[in-house]
């Protein structure tokens, strides 16, 4: 089986989808001739022609708005917003248009678009290249929100997103594009090549949306994470020696509540980890759901570890988002509670 980095897996997902279905088109800023600033679309224009993979004007609202029109026609656009931080001009099109076409037209018009955007920090991107806006989308009825944590899932989830008849926000943790992250910024970047989830089938396959996966089985505490933080959670469990069960949510909307509830009922404790800011973040939703569904099995309050409630800093980014030290402290507190 070929080994791929996450960005290669994402490219492979689009390649496979475009090959199988002429209705799949790919466009966005710099994605055509150049192949994307992260090279996510490299080679697609040469292979499929410039009417199926092309450069767009620097106009995010235009990119998403045009994609909505294309989807209403019957195409399956997979567009790239160069950084999740740039999606704000397109927010109206995403949340009030794409999300609602099916509902407001009673199925007369649908919007099967996929909007890819690199998300999160860990690359010294500063405040405008590091944000994690997932909660801005999970709050919107009609959208689906996907955050992969490894190349295998990235490919399978992206193909599933492109084939999904409704709009999908596909958030790509850019810190994971080239290798997994163990949470320690001073260690050299390891390669996906040595990672089991770097083995990715070259052909078509899907990872269904709405299904979480247990990355690390355990019995003492459940850690809910997604994207980059899955790796931090796994590393923390190893380093602390706490028997933590790490769940990779993979899809935030729809959420696999069954997997979460089954785990928390077993462990009796729950820690939520994400790198987006804490207040009103998606972790609040997770904590509320766990409380609603597992209250009588909980032996301690649900704890959240998240990015601080500040804009994303440049020089202090390694202090900003949760690393094994902060997550480890929270895990120990939770076990003692």
């Amino acid at each position: 089986m070929p080994r791929m980095t996450m960005i290669e897996a994402i490219r492979s997902a689009m390649d496979v989808s475009m090959e199988r279905d002429d209705d799949v088109v790919v466009f966005g800023e710099d994605v055509g001739y150049f192949g994307g600033v992260f090279r996510g679309t490299q080679g697609l224009q040469q292979k499929y022609g410039k009417t199926r993979c092309f450069d767009a004007p620097i106009n995010e609202s235009g990119i998403v708005g045009a994609a909505i029109g294309m989807a209403a026609y019957g195409l399956k656009p997979c567009v790239e917003i160069q950084f999740a931080d740039y999606m704000y001009p397109a927010y109206d099109q995403l949340t009030q248009e794409a999300a609602r076409l099916r509902y407001r037209s009673n199925g007369d018009f649908t919007c099967g678009i996929t909007v890819r955007m690199p998300t999160g920090g860990g690359i010294f991107g500063g405040q405008t290249h590091s944000q994690s806006p997932e909660a801005l989308f999970t709050h919107v009825c009609g959208l689906q929100v996907v955050v992969p944590s490894n190349p295998y899932d990235a490919k399978g989830l992206l193909i599933a997103s492109i084939e999904n008849p409704d709009p999908v926000i596909f958030l790509e943790p850019k810190r994971l594009y080239n290798g997994p992250f163990d949470g320690h910024h001073d260690r050299p970047v390891t390669s996906w090549a040595g990672h089991p989830l770097g083995e990715v089938p070259a052909e078509h396959f899907v990872v269904p949306l709405g299904k979480a996966v247990v990355r690390r089985p355990g019995s003492a505490v459940t850690v809910l994470a997604y994207g980059t933080m899955v790796h931090v959670a796994e590393a923390t469990a190893e380093e602390t020696g706490i028997d933590a069960e790490v769940i990779d949510l993979r899809t935030l909307m729809p959420l696999d509540l069954d997997t979460i509830v089954t785990s928390v009922k077993k462990t009796g404790r729950c820690l939520v980890v994400h790198e987006a800011t804490l207040t009103s973040g998606f972790g609040a939703e997770l904590a509320a759901l766990v409380q609603e569904h597992c209250f009588y099995q909980l032996e301690a309050p649900v704890i959240r570890v998240a990015g601080w409630d500040t804009p994303y800093p440049h020089a202090q980014e390694w202090d900003y988002f949760p690393g094994p030290a902060r997550v480890g402290r929270a895990l120990r507190d939770l076990m003692e509670a």
Binding site: P57, G69, R104, L257
Partner: protein, 410 residues
Amino acid sequence: MTDGQRLSLHVPEPEVRPGGKPDFSNVPIPKAGSVRRPEVDVDPKEIRDLAYSIIRVLDREGEAVGPWAGSLTPEELMEGLKHMMLLRVFDSRMLMAQRQGKTSFYMQHLGEEAVSCAFRKALLPGDMNFPTYRQAGLLIAGGYPMVEMMNQIYSNDADPLKGRQLPIMYSSKEFGFFTISGNLATQYVQAVGWAMASAIKNDTKIAAAWIGDGSTAESDFHSALVFASTYRAPVVLNVVNNQWAISTFQGVARGGSGTFAARGLGYGLPSLRVDGNDYLAVHAVAKWAAERARRNIGPTLVEYVTYRVGAHSTSDDPSAYRPKEESEAWPLGDPVIRLKNHLIRIGAWSEERHKQMEAEIRDTVVAAQKEAERHGTLHSGGRPSMRDMFEGVYAEMPPHLKRQRQQAGV
């Protein structure tokens, strides 16, 4: 230059306010028939002046004159007159229904009937409009059942949109009418995307984008122009300049550009202005622009110069911001009367037959209204089910919505 000169902000104001005397003498209106008709493949650079003129066909005597005349037969014009009259009566009945509490809201087309009714006749089956809330004439002239429109307005149990949309926000893929959004200008770039898709698939269908003068200030209007210009999308970009964006006069959105059509010049788009109260002129220009799109030459920007005679919506009171007599002073007249006079002038119509048709149309609309009201109105009779509320958010209902539907007891 003087150092330290104190600056002051320019805030545009209309010529007159309530209590003043309406004055359109500063609106240059060229004589009917005086604006040339270029070939559809003309270099946009050669017709930049058309962005500052007004294409007109009907003169004061009701004659069709000049190079833009002759795009429709007398029979087609008769049909056009009927569509406009239907829309007008439909409007008045629905306005009254709103006042009677049968629906929450309505928006009428009074004075602007020619724009959407005539444009629709330049389209072919399969073409797609991305309308605003004031283009119901696209549906009426396209043969969409009036009862369905009323069911939508009443949000009753036969509402094709299951009570989910504000009244007048229709949707019909079959009739080339994209689902209306309450957010302004979003549809403009979606229309361009739809047209791009048609071109990507080497299809023959074209799109039409619609926007009002006020909404041209929205970013998405400019996004659409960039995309349309860049990819030469087969789309007609329509701007309906009815002078008023609720209470804000058109000068606020227009700024220093002179006209809304002139917005297209910077994008290299052929940009025309047309008398929006002249059914013949609207049709001729729509046909010209649609042909450009169909022949893969590219997009066209068309500004329809018209006047919103009625209120913006049933929640608006125009007497608070413009003189009451302003609509009567509007120099381009009433589109229904102008087309009627033309048909009488060419011997195809008479005042008596017109009165008779008015009565027939009223009967038709009243009958449709009775049929719709048998299903119910907003506050009485049949309503869409609560279960419908949970359907159709996604193609497949996710578990959390199933749980919520269960909690709601449906």
